[in-house]
Symmetry: C4
Subunit: 263 residues, 4 copies
C-alpha cells in the first residue's frame, strides 16, 4: 500500500493516533452517518451472539464430549468474529462491546475526533439490543423456545477473576495495537485473542457486557443465569480499567503522535 | 502495493465499485474470455463439492463422533474454499454459487462492466454441472457407488430459517466487502464465514443452490434428499435478497463511487 | 509494497513469469548458490516429513479416535508446511517435492531463467534423502526403532484415484497462482490445500514421491508399505500432468508475459 | 507499504539486517526505553504461560481424551502467542524466551545496534519472573492452589532429543526469516511453528527455558517436574546452537547486508 492508503484503517482510530502530517479531521469527515454506524453495531453484535449461541447448540446436539463442544464453539467464534470486524470495522469501528466503546471514548476524550457522549448513548443500546436479538435468532434457528432464561450459574469467585483477565487482555490488545498503528490487524488479532481466551480463562471469556446480557436469554450451552450477570459485568468493567493501565505501562502514557510522525 | 495494483482484485468487482479516477472499462478489457471463466466456475465448484462431500465421507469412516465429523468437514471446507477463491477469483470471480452470480448481476446491472445475461446463462449451468461432477468424483475416490440419491431429509422449518440466515450472511459479507473496497480479503473472509456458518446455522449452511443440487447425488454425510432441495433453494434465494437489504441498511443505498474517490 | 519489491517473491517464479519491464536475468542473478538451495530442499523436506510422521505418532499415543488422530496430524502439517514454504521459499523455491520440481522445469523450459537439468539432478536426491532423514528423526524423537518398514498397505484402486486428484490439485494450485502472479500467497495456500486434501482425498494426499518414500521407512500412523510405493508415485506423476492440463484449460496456454505487463 | 515503512518491523531486527541505504542507527533511536521493553517481556511471557497452563487446565476439566486436550492446548497457544508477538514485537521484540534473547545478542554482537549485555540482564529475569507469574495467575483463575510443584516427569532421553529439535527449529525459523527480511511474518510464523511442534516433537515443544521454569510451578496438564528442568533447559540451549548452525548452512554465514541492498 502506498502511504495514501493510511486512512483505510479497519477499526476506527481514536483521533489521537492520526498521522499529524495529514490535514486534521478527515477521519471525522469520512465517518459514516450515525444511523449506519448504529445499524452496524446492532447487526454485528446480533450476528456475533448468534454465532456464539448457535454453534454452542449445534455442538451439544452432535457430541457428548464437552471439550469438543467448546472447541467447535470457540473455532466458530474465531471465524465469525474475525469477519464481522473486517466487514463492519470501516463502518462503526466494530466494537460490539460497551467496554470497548467506553475505552475508545476515554482514550480519545481530549481529541477532536473522539467518540462523543451521543455516540456512546447510541452504540451501547444497539449492542445490547443486538445481542438479545442474536440469542433469539439462534434459538429460532434450532427450534428452541425463543426466550428462556439461562440456568447456567457462573458466580464462582475464580470465574470472576477469569472475567477480569479476559477483558483486560482484550482492551490491552486493541488499544495497544492502536498505539503502534497496527489496528489493520484487528480482525485476525481480536478473533485469535477470543479463541485463546475461551480456553485459558476459567470464565470462557465473555469479556463483553452486551454479549453477556444476550446470553442470559437462552438456556443453552453458551447461556448465563441472569443472577450471574451483575458479577460478570462488574468484572468486565474492572478488566477494562486494568487493560488501559497495562497499555500505559507497556506503551507509555503519551499519545503516539510522536511516533506516528515516522511511519 | 502501489495504486497501479488496484485492478489485481481477488474477486471480480462490480463495475460500480471501480475507482472513477481510472479510465473506464479496464476491468472489462482484462476480463478473461468467457470460456476460461466458465471453466473456472465448473472446476472450482466441482472441487468445492469434492471437498465438502469427500471430507464428510473420510470423517464418517474414521470416527463415530458426529461433532468431530462436522469439525473435520468444516475445517477441510474452510481450507479448500479459501484457496479456490484465491486461485480462481482472478479468472471468473470465483462465485461457485448462483445466488452470488445473481446478486453480482443485480448490483452491477446499471453499470457498463456488470455481468450480462449471457454471463449468467453460462455461469449457472457450469456451477450446477460442476457441483454434480464434484459429488461423483468424491464418491469415486472413496469407492462408493458413483450416483446414489441422498436419503438425508432436511425439510424441518427451523432448518429452512437457518438456510435463509446462512445465505443472507454470505451475501451481506461479499457485497459489504465490495462496498468498502475490501474484496481482496474475500478468500479468507468467505472461507471463515462458511467455517462459522457450518456451526451456527441449524442447516449447516449450504447457502448455495448449485452445491445443494450436487449434494443430492451422494448418499453420504453431506448429502441432501432430493425432495428437500426445493425448500433449500427457495430459502437461499430469499436469503440472497435479505443479504442485499442488509448491505443497503448498513452500507447505504448508493454505489460507493463517492467513497472510492478517497482510496 | 512498491513495484521495486516485485523480486521479493516467496516461491521462485519460473522465468516466464518475470515482468518483462525488468531487466532480464535478475531473478537468476539473485538465486542463491546451488549448495544452499540443495541444503534448503534437504532440510525442508526432512522437517516436513518429521512433522507428518511425528505428529502422527504423537496423536496415536494420545487418543484412540482415528478421526481425531487425522485432525491433529493434518493441522500440524498445515502449520509446519506453511512456515517451511515461507522460510525456505526465498532460498530454493521450497519445492520439497519432485513433482513440483519437474513441473517447474517443464513450465520454464523455454525461458532463460528456468530450472536446468543440473538443478533437477540436485534437487530430487536432496528431497528423497531429506524425507528419509525426517522419518528417521521422528522415530528417534519418539523412542521408536529408527527404521522399520511400514506395513500400511495403500494399494486399493480408489486410493490411487485419490492420489491423482491430490497431486493434480496441488500442481493446479501452485502453477495457477504463478500465472496470476500470486505466488506470494503460496505458504498459506499450499498449506491450506494440504489441510483440505488430507480429508477430501481417500489417500489422505501424499501428493509427493519423496515424502512417500520417506514415509515407507516408519511403521507408524503415517507410513506406507514399500510395495504400495510404485502405485502412489506413478499416480502422483499422472496427477502432475493432469494439474498442468488444468492450468492450461483455466488460465490459458500462453505464458503470462502479456498479462504481467499490466501488473 | 512504501519503502519508508521499513522500520515498522514486527520483531526487532538485529542491526546487521538493517538496510544500509538508511541512515545508521534509526532502529536504535526509536527503540522504546528499557523499562517499557522489560515490562513488555514480563507481561508477554506471563500471558503466554497463562495461556499454555490455563488452556491445559480447562481442557482436562472438559474432556477425558488426552489427544483432544493437547489439540485445545495447542490451538489456544497458537492464537495467544501470535497476538502477543504482534502486539509486543514493536516494543521489546517479543522474545519471551532467553534462548531467543541470547541468539539475538549473538547474531548482532558485532553491530552497533545489537542487544547489549545490559539488555540481556534485564530481559532474562523479566521472562523468568513473568513465566512464574503467568503460571500462578492460571492456577488462580481456575481455583487451584497458587503454587504446587509439578509431578510430571519429563526426563526420558527421547524427550530431550525432542526438545533439541523443537528449539533448533524455532531459532532456525526466527533467524532465517530475519536473513531474508521477513520478520514481519513472525507473529503468524512463530505461532504456527509452535502449533506444529506441540505435535511433532515428543516433548510437546517447550523450547523456552523461562516458560519451562514457569511450568514447574503448576501441577496441571502443562506442568514439568522441577527435577526435569535442568535436562530441558540444557537441551534448549543446545537446540539454539543447532538452530544458528542451520541458519548458517542454509542462508549463508555472512550478514544479509548485501542482499538488503536490493530490497
Amino acid at each position: 500500500m502506498t502511504s495514501t492508503d493510511a486512512p483505510e484503517v479497519i477499526v476506527d482510530q481514536p483521533a489521537a493516533h492520526v498521522d499529524p502530517a495529514l490535514p486534521p479531521g478527515p477521519a471525522v469527515a469520512h465517518r459514516p452517518p450515525l444511523f449506519q454506524r448504529v445499524a452496524a453495531e446492532f447487526v454485528g453484535t446480533a450476528l456475533l451472539v448468534a454465532v456464539v449461541v448457535g454453534s454452542g447448540i449445534q455442538a451439544t446436539e452432535l457430541t457428548p464430549d464437552v471439550g469438543l463442544e467448546l472447541l467447535a464453539n470457540s473455532l466458530a467464534t474465531v471465524f465469525g468474529l474475525g469477519i464481522l470486524i473486517l466487514l463492519l470495522g470501516p463502518v462503526s469501528g466494530a466494537h460490539f462491546n460497551p467496554v470497548v466503546t467506553l475505552a475508545d471514548w476515554w482514550t480519545g476524550r481530549r481529541t477532536e475526533g473522539g467518540l462523543a457522549a451521543r455516540d456512546i448513548a447510541a452504540y451501547v443500546p444497539a449492542q445490547v439490543g443486538g445481542a438479545i436479538a442474536g440469542a433469539v435468532l439462534a434459538d429460532a434457528m434450532f427450534g428452541k423456545q425463543l426466550v428462556q432464561w439461562s440456568t447456567h450459574d457462573r458466580s464462582a469467585g475464580h470465574l470472576l477473576l477469569g472475567e477480569v483477565v479476559a477483558t483486560a487482555g482484550l482492551v490491552f490488545l486493541i488499544f495497544g495495537l492502536a498505539k503502534k498503528d497496527q489496528l489493520r490487524f484487528a480482525p485476525v488479532a481480536v478473533a485469535s485473542y477470543i479463541g485463546a481466551a475461551y480456553w485459558f480463562t476459567s470464565s470462557t471469556s465473555f469479556a463483553n457486557p452486551a454479549v453477556a446480557i444476550g446470553r442470559a436469554f437462552t438456556n443453552t450451552f453458551a447461556g448465563i443465569k441472569p443472577s450471574s450477570l451483575p458479577g460478570f459485568i462488574g468484572m468486565e468493567l474492572v478488566g477494562g480499567v486494568v487493560g488501559l493501565a497495562l497499555v500505559a505501562l507497556v506503551f507509555g502514557y503519551r499519545s503516539n503522535n510522536g511516533e506516528a510522525g515516522r511511519e
